[in-house]
């Protein structure tokens, strides 16, 4: 009983903490999440804790219903991002990768080369790097060299054997993503999938502002948006609908699909305000 009370207090206290955060800190927090498409569970676990009354469907979408009656509407944001999973482990302890989620830019895979990644193993995050040829040994690029792709990627986590990697909790299908370091510059923020994550931050901020609701409103943080057919969003529609109207929170971005994907802080604030108004019935 004592523990149960403590748990209740914790769940009440965290939303208050979350609500007290500025939109900027909330945005940076969301930008710090790694959400490889189809492997969003760690983030959705956090959202369940942070949003009392929220539920998770069998696919993993997080939804909360506000208000009652009609019209019944849906506002959502996709949580996921393109990333990788471990496709294999070599006898020397290097990890090979399989890409997961649609991408718009060939630069996305090039960015793996020579950069730090995080492997989400069974025992927790494992830091690593993706190998690149030593510039001293190659003496420059070959003209018209083929771009670096995921097939060239060997993740070095410091292991010397497949057994070493296994001992760190790294397994087949462990999610892998570029190590995140949300980066504020000027009046903007840069991060991988900054647009998607900042849009979700704006939606969370709108939700936490206790908006006036016209009719009933389903607020969903959806998974697997980068899979064919957007199964996460369609699952919400199938399970919670039909809806009289739907809105997906999105933001304009610069430098899409790079570590420097950029959103303007003013755009995030404007989106939050627009979402609050839309929840209140504005078109």
């Amino acid at each position: 009983m004592r523990y149960r009370c403590a748990a209740v207090i914790l769940s009440l206290a965290i939303p208050a903490t979350l609500a007290s955060q500025s939109l900027e800190s909330l945005t940076l927090r969301f930008a710090g999440f790694t959400t490889v498409s189809g492997y969003e569970q760690a983030v959705t676990d956090s959202l369940l804790t942070l949003l009392p009354g929220a539920t998770r469907d069998r696919l993993g979408d997080i939804s909360i219903t506000l208000g009652s009656g009609s019209p019944k509407r849906l506002v959502s944001c996709p949580l996921d991002e393109a990333g990788y999973v471990v496709g294999g482990v070599t006898s020397e302890g290097y990890l090979t990768l399989r890409r997961e989620g649609r991408i718009a830019s060939p630069l996305f895979e090039q960015q793996l080369e020579g950069h730090r990644v995080t492997v989400f193993g069974a025992s927790g995050p494992v830091p690593g790097v993706v190998g690149v040829r030593s510039v001293h040994l190659t003496r420059g690029r070959v003209p018209n060299e083929a771009p670096f792709t995921v097939d060239d990627a060997y993740v070095d986590i410091g292991a010397s054997s497949a057994a070493d990697a296994a001992a760190l909790g790294v397994r087949l299908l462990s999610p892998v993503a570029l190590a995140r370091r949300p980066h504020r510059y000027g009046d903007a923020m840069a991060a991988p999938a900054a647009g998607r994550h900042a849009a979700c931050a704006a939606l969370a901020a709108a939700l936490l502002s206790h908006p006036k609701i016209s009719g009933s409103m389903v607020v969903s943080f959806t998974v697997q948006g980068l899979q064919g057919g957007d199964p996460g969003l369609n699952a919400v529609i199938a399970l919670k609908g039909p809806f009289a109207d739907t809105l997906t929170a999105t933001l304009p971005v610069k430098y899409r699909d790079t570590m420097a994907e950029t959103v303007m802080m003013a755009d995030i604030q404007a989106l939050e305000q627009r979402l609050v108004q839309w929840m209140g019935g504005a078109k």
Partner: protein, 372 residues
């Protein structure tokens, strides 16, 4: 003569000394790696090096920016040199839209910076920005976004195909941030332990060399020295060995030997050819007997191996590519004994080392200083 010298060295080296450890190497690198110091802008690194030296050490800075520590007295000095600078960029112009034109400082694959966060280093502090991907810039359309940049757009070999966006839209706004022509540019970096004794970071080349000198100084038995030992943390190695050049000129023919302590670029990596440089990580420092700038006389290689054996320090011998600061001393008749540690993924943000090699490198620096 050679046998006599080797026996003498072995006897002198046999006495056990307090030696550097992996934990100590880890703590020193954790201070050095997050410090920025593009060639010509090494001052922050120099201050960290000073702060990590023992209190008895009284280093001095010369007009080239090199940091000198002289220990002991007697016969001809021996010099240990490691460079403080790292690769990066320098601002060459501020465009009307507020973005920055760049020159490369040192040799590296520019694609590793494309689409990444950036830091512009100014006297007022670090200004954050990003390196926009090239297809967002008004550049030569033949440069496909996803191709590594190899095209020199204007014939200047150092001109970068990248720019930096600091979030401004006018030249005046960028200047108001304190950015000027000549400001240096890098990307954010940090020191990160990997599994076991491995670690990753950017600028291990040559902060590991800096660290090994610091550790050797800390453990050095000064009472054993029979000649002057000069520990030198040098500047502008990546752009032409300029700091070492100035030091070599000032010392002239006086030194008995110079030990260049710099990266051994290893092919112990999945993408590199194995035809040479295949000295693996974790099996000890490497006597860099032959590179693109110098050849170590074989007798001197043998002497290092003998000292390492006497002190039970693991060591390897190898050949790799690249130059080293010691080569600036050779024209004065000073033999260059280059030593390093195996490094994967050189000049990239993902350089990987084994801390066991760093501790052992510090120990061989200490041992050679004390007995040779």
């Amino acid at each position: 003569m050679k046998i006599f010298l080797t026996v003498t060295l072995v006897c002198a080296a046999s006495a056990a000394q307090a030696q550097s450890t992996v934990a100590e190497a880890d703590s020193v690198l954790a201070r050095l790696i997050p410090t920025y110091g593009v060639s010509g802008g090494e001052a922050p690194v120099r201050e960290v090096v000073k702060s990590l030296l023992p209190s008895w050490a009284k280093p001095e800075t010369d007009t080239a920016g090199n940091l000198w520590l002289r220990v002991g007295s007697g016969g001809a000095p021996v010099v240990y040199v490691a460079h403080m600078d790292e690769i990066g960029f320098q601002v060459t112009a501020i465009n009307p839209d507020g973005s920055l034109e760049l020159d490369r400082t040192g040799g590296f694959f520019e694609s590793l910076f494309e689409g990444m966060p950036a830091l512009v280093h100014t006297p007022r502090g670090d200004i954050p920005g990003v390196f926009p991907p090239r297809d967002s810039l008004p550049r030569d359309p033949r440069e496909l976004r996803h191709q590594p940049p190899v095209v020199r757009v204007d014939g200047d070999p150092n001109h970068s195909t990248l720019r930096v966006d600091v979030g401004t839209t006018t030249r005046a706004a960028t200047e108001a941030l304190g950015v000027t022509v000549g400001s240096t540019v890098t990307m954010p970096k940090s020191y990160q332990k990997l599994a076991g004794t491995r670690a990753t970071g950017r600028s291990f080349d040559d902060r590991v060399g800096d660290a090994s000198l610091i550790l050797a100084v800390r453990h050095l038995d000064r009472a054993k020295l029979t000649h002057e030992v000069i520990f030198l943390w040098s500047t502008r190695e990546e752009t032409g060995l300029f700091g070492a050049r100035a030091a070599a000129r000032s010392l002239g023919t006086a030194p008995a030997r110079v030990y260049a302590i710099d990266t051994f670029v290893s092919s112990d990596a999945p993408l590199d050819p194995k035809s040479f440089a295949d000295q693996p990580l974790g099996q000890g420092p490497v006597v860099r007997a032959l590179d693109n700038s110098s050849v170590t006389p074989p007798a001197l290689v043998d002497s290092v191996l003998a000292i390492a054996s006497a002190r039970h320090i693991p060591i390897q011998v190898g050949t790799t590519n690249g130059g080293n600061d010691g080569s600036m001393f050779v024209p004065f008749g000073v033999p260059d004994v280059a030593m390093g540690w195996p490094l994967r993924y050189s000049h990239s943000p993902a350089e990987v080392i084994d801390l066991k090699d760093v501790a052992a490198l510090a120990n061989i620096v200490q041992a050679t200083a004390e007995v040779w």
